[in-house]
């Protein structure tokens, strides 16, 4: 059976072959970030999770693949270094103890592509730091990511605290758990649950439209 493009990418990640993985992505016919994230990066990383579940690879292999994927994302979609202040600002972080940051990184990249100034904190950011940073930056949007069930109680605290900031930021909650569990009780109407990349993009487009019309 022919292997899918996503599977090819997953194999390159597992081999630790960052140069080939970069090349593979660069030669894709459609270079739209959203398409690459949705059709290649995300399914490739899910496949790697399945391989662990099927006992075909170890956690060490997963770590290597994560590192390579992170490198490729950083290399291709570099966070812009220009200093100019942009009008729309967003901040992205994983809850404390949370190490699954690749999805968040992709969302951050989508916001950047659409002209937002972003601050990406990646894995495990304690609430006090998030709060301090948000007070300084005053982002309109704060994106949180949660993938581990034990972190759910903490989620409640993050959402409540951050949504109460003086500039009333919109809190987006994403991560692997959103598709498996009902997170409404934790978010408590103070945030918006985003289940996947498409929903994030849809929300973002609608938000911009409302902003223009307002």
């Amino acid at each position: 059976m022919a292997i899918s493009e996503a599977e090819k990418l997953a194999r390159l990640f597992l081999e630790g072959n960052h140069a080939e993985a970069l090349h593979f992505i660069r030669q894709q016919p459609d270079q739209n970030r959203m398409v690459l994230f949705k059709d290649l990066f995300t399914p490739a990383m899910y496949m790697i999770g399945d391989l662990w579940e099927n006992n075909e690879i170890s956690v060490a292999d997963e770590h290597l693949a994560t590192g390579v994927c992170d490198f490729v994302l950083s290399r291709l979609f570099q966070v812009s270094v220009e200093e100019t202040k942009r009008e729309k600002r967003a901040m992205f972080l994983c809850l404390q103890g949370e190490q699954h940051y690749l999805g968040l990184k992709m969302i951050n990249s989508i916001f950047e592509e659409k002209g937002w100034e972003t601050k990406y904190y990646g894995a495990s950011l304690p609430l006090e730091y998030a709060l301090k940073s948000a007070l300084e930056m005053k982002p309109e949007v704060i994106g949180l990511s949660v993938s581990i069930v034990y972190n759910l109680p903490v989620l409640k605290n993050y959402v409540r605290t951050l949504s109460a900031l003086p500039n009333k930021p919109v809190i987006l909650v994403g991560g692997r758990l959103t598709e498996k569990y009902d997170l409404d009780p934790y978010v408590n109407n103070q945030g918006i649950i985003i289940k996947n990349l498409q929903q994030a993009e849809k929300w973002l487009d609608e938000y911009i439209e409302e902003r223009i019309n307002a």
């Binding site: 579940e53 060490a60 770590h63 290399r75 581990i148 069930v149």
Partner: protein, 248 residues
């Protein structure tokens, strides 16, 4: 028993726990499902039907002190009973995680535009090194290698690669190295150049010849106590005249 061990019936109810298993999992656990992190349940279920032989898999175990701890799980079935041993994977994966974290921090602080420029520069430097020691066949038996610029280790390594390849492909009896256009020499560069001369000597059965040595080089070579397996000639001009007369 020196390892965490539990014995189960086919419904997954724990019948016996070793004292190490109690230390790891706590005294209260009743079923094997209780020992596994929710996300590892699917994986566990694949091993809960009796099979022959023994199997090993990685899973996150819910311990007394931590919500999950990565363990290698060994399982074998005997009649309707399963024997399960948990070995925490411990330090090596933890070490890996720390390395990954370091890499991640490094990544977030890397300016990739600069990084790419650096890569391009390195490529250009290598190209420059290659061009600083061209291997020129003058006749079928004679080759000429003028060295340009400073004699550094990286340049000599690049020159060595191309010179050995060319010398291997041609059948040269005499190879001349010309130092007229060289600048500074450092110790490691001279060292690598010596190795190249020695290799060419072995390949050809004849020492290479050096021309264009300046007094400055002679002093430097002397102070580095270089013992090159070579002949020194004065200049290319003389060598060529001599060679042409010989061929006539």
């Amino acid at each position: 028993m020196p390892v965490p061990y539990v014995k189960l019936n086919k419904d997954g109810v724990i019948l016996i726990k070793s004292s190490r298993a109690e230390d790891l999992l706590g005294i209260q656990v009743e079923t094997i499902r209780d020992c596994f992190d929710e996300e590892s349940h699917n994986k566990l279920m694949k091993y809960m039907m009796p099979f022959s032989g023994e199997k090993t898999f990685e899973a996150n175990i819910r311990t007394k002190d931590q919500p999950f701890l990565l363990c290698d799980v060994f399982i074998s079935w005997e009649e309707e009973m399963a024997h399960v041993v948990f070995i925490p994977t411990g330090k090596h994966v933890q070490g890996l995680e720390e390395k990954l974290l370091e890499l991640r921090l490094r990544l977030s602080s890397t300016d990739f535009e600069l990084f790419e420029k650096k890569e391009a520069l390195e490529e250009a430097m290598k190209r420059l090194d290659e061009l600083s020691g061209p291997f020129i066949p003058i006749s079928e038996k004679m080759a000429f290698v003028p060295l340009f610029g400073d004699i550094s280790e990286s340049k000599m390594l690049t020159v060595t690669g191309s010179a050995l390849k060319a010398a291997y492909e041609g059948q040269f009896e005499e190879i001349f190295f010309d130092l007229s256009a060289t600048g500074e020499m450092d110790e490691s560069g001279v060292q690598k150049l010596s190795e190249l001369f020695r290799m060419l000597h072995y390949m050809n059965g004849k020492p290479v010849k050096i021309i264009g040595v300046k007094p400055k080089h002679a002093r430097q070579l002397n102070s580095l106590e270089v013992d090159w397996p070579v002949y020194f000639e004065t200049s290319l001009k003389e060598v060529l005249i001599e060679h042409l007369q010989f061929e006539k």
